[in-house]
């Protein structure tokens, strides 16, 4: 069964953008605690630009949309999150190239995205970065069907909570060493919104209305 179409993908981006806008301050506050206080600003700017880019463009395939998303994030976000999310969406696009996006393709794409993040950021599990969320989501999808979105979100949420107790060893929070404990990783939080947005799209039909 095809689970992502061009329209649905656009709607996904739309839903992400709404969340980044609504949570811009929350993400920034999280980043002020253990980073440099710009994560919400970066994400809001990035997905605003993504919408501006994709809204009026006709796309042939989901892969094409996601390539556009990747390019825009890479060119407009900057910081750590720009290359990481840029790479994630680029890897998804590459995994979907020439294919319709059924469950198998989707699962492979998420795994590829997680691997891309790992390659770009040189971070492994438990280093208190957004890789934690992407990797756990990819792990979940390897075991479970891609329709139990609630369960998937629970995984995200649990991982975010896990980052709270971690000592950061990558990214800006690593400068804090033990003092980074007790704070949720901002990038993990923004990743949560990406999957939450996806769930919303998945649960409300094909978005072709």
């Amino acid at each position: 069964m095809i689970i992502l179409t061009v329209e649905k993908t656009k709607k996904w981006m739309n839903e992400i953008q709404k969340r980044m806008e609504a949570n811009k301050e929350q993400l920034t506050v999280l980043d002020q605690a253990i980073g440099d206080g710009d994560h919400g600003i970066n994400m809001e700017r990035g997905f605003r630009e993504v919408l501006a880019k994709i809204s009026d463009t006709e796309y042939e395939s989901v892969a094409d949309v996601l390539k556009s998303v990747a390019m825009t994030l890479t060119a407009k976000v900057g910081g750590a999150s720009g290359p990481l999310y840029g790479t994630a969406f680029l890897k998804m696009s590459m995994a979907m190239q020439g294919k319709e996006v059924d469950e198998i393709v989707f699962k492979t794409a998420v795994r590829e995205a997680a691997e891309g993040i790992k390659m770009r950021g040189k971070a492994g599990m438990g280093e208190k970065t957004l890789y934690d969320v992407w990797n756990q989501v990819a792990n979940f999808l390897a075991e479970e069907p891609a329709e139990d979105w609630d369960a998937l979100l629970e995984v995200c949420q649990a991982t975010i909570e896990d980052t709270r107790e971690m000592t950061a060893t990558k990214g800006r929070a690593s400068y804090l060493k033990e003092r980074s404990k007790g704070h949720v990783d901002p990038g993990s939080m923004s990743s949560f919104y990406i999957f939450e947005a996806l769930m919303t799209v998945m649960e409300t039909g094909d978005g072709s209305e």
Partner: protein, 329 residues
């Protein structure tokens, strides 16, 4: 938040316009980019030098663009690394065929964005090398973590690599001397107040009236510890002791006392006095001391101390004339 701005979303653009319209004889903006270059790039036969990073650290990095220092500065959003496409534009603009050296401060974002640009440029057949500055002794030096931050010591790397490139050295030679400079430079800072990222509108952190943060980063990242405000001499000594304890310094150094934004020059000189005294007592000769704002953190109050261990080559290159606005006089 009280700032002299128009629209927080246009800050970087308007700042670049301001810089390039005021200094149009020396600098230019590459059209439709956030890249500021020497007005005469590419300089024939010379290795191109590109640096940059988030904005909010002015005069870094546009103030170091000019003959004998950088060829281009790539400007990101406030405290946010510029994107690979912008770095790529800078690389293309400064390459005269002799290759390009990227001088990157060690932040995950900067490293990733500049590396992506390097990959892109190499695909287009441009020879690109990079060095990563990590002079901040407040952070542990570890290969398992992100490692040390690049802070004010970066300015010495710009100067020395710039002088080497201006002499006509090869890309490998310029990279080598840049790496030597990085190996020889150490810094550490202290904050008395926070800064406010314009788009955030609120201070990045809160320090109580009697507190200071030792080992602060230039983006307001926390440092080693938060302790009661001390006297100038004590603060200067703490920073200096950390620096001198981190590496063996020879008896010939260059010094930079760098204001983070809101600290008056008066206070920087009070701190400088102690630094000079301490180094004199230790028998370490000061080749020259720079006191001023070189690598700021918006309107943060505080300062950093940088020491560069000099040998003959570094001394000669540091002393070479240059024309960048904020270092050469």
């Amino acid at each position: 938040m009280k700032k002299v701005v128009n629209d927080v979303n246009q800050i970087v653009d308007e700042m670049i316009e301001g810089i390039t319209s005021v200094h149009s004889n020396l600098l230019k903006r590459l059209p439709n980019t956030t890249v500021i270059t020497r007005s005469d790039v590419p300089v024939k036969g010379k290795v191109g030098l590109v640096s940059g990073g988030g904005s909010g650290h002015e005069p870094a990095h546009a103030g170091y663009v000019g003959k004998g220092m950088l060829d281009a500065a790539v400007v990101g959003e406030v405290f946010t690394s510029p994107t690979p496409d912008q770095v790529m534009e800078a690389i293309k603009a400064v390459d005269s065929g002799a290759g390009v050296l990227l001088i990157i401060k060690n932040y995950t974002g900067d490293v990733m964005n500049f590396e992506m640009a390097k990959e892109m440029a190499e695909l287009e057949g441009i020879q690109v090398e990079q060095v990563i500055v990590n002079d901040d002794v407040a952070v542990e030096d570890s290969t398992f973590t992100t490692g040390r931050r690049g802070i004010a010591g970066t300015v010495f790397v710009h100067k020395i690599a710039g002088a080497m490139a201006e002499k006509g050295a090869s890309l490998a030679e310029v990279k080598e001397v840049a790496e030597k400079t990085i190996a020889n430079v150490r810094s550490m800072g202290v904050a008395l107040t926070s800064c406010t990222v314009p788009a955030a509108g609120k201070p990045s952190f809160i320090l109580e009236d009697n507190e200071m943060e030792i080992g602060i980063g230039i983006h307001g990242e926390p440092g080693i510890k938060r302790i009661p405000l001390q006297k100038a001499d004590q603060i200067a000594k703490t920073l200096l002791d950390n620096i001198l304890g981190d590496k063996h310094f020879g008896n010939h150094v260059a010094v930079m006392i760098n204001g983070l934004g809101a600290t008056p020059e008066m206070e920087l000189y009070i701190a400088s006095r102690k630094v000079v005294q301490e180094l004199n007592e230790k028998g370490i000769n000061i080749h020259r001391t720079w006191v001023g704002e070189y690598m700021t953190s918006l309107e943060m109050a505080g300062f950093s101390i940088t020491l560069l261990d000099l040998d003959d080559q570094l001394t000669e290159l540091l002393d070479k004339e240059c024309e960048a606005l904020s270092f050469c006089n």
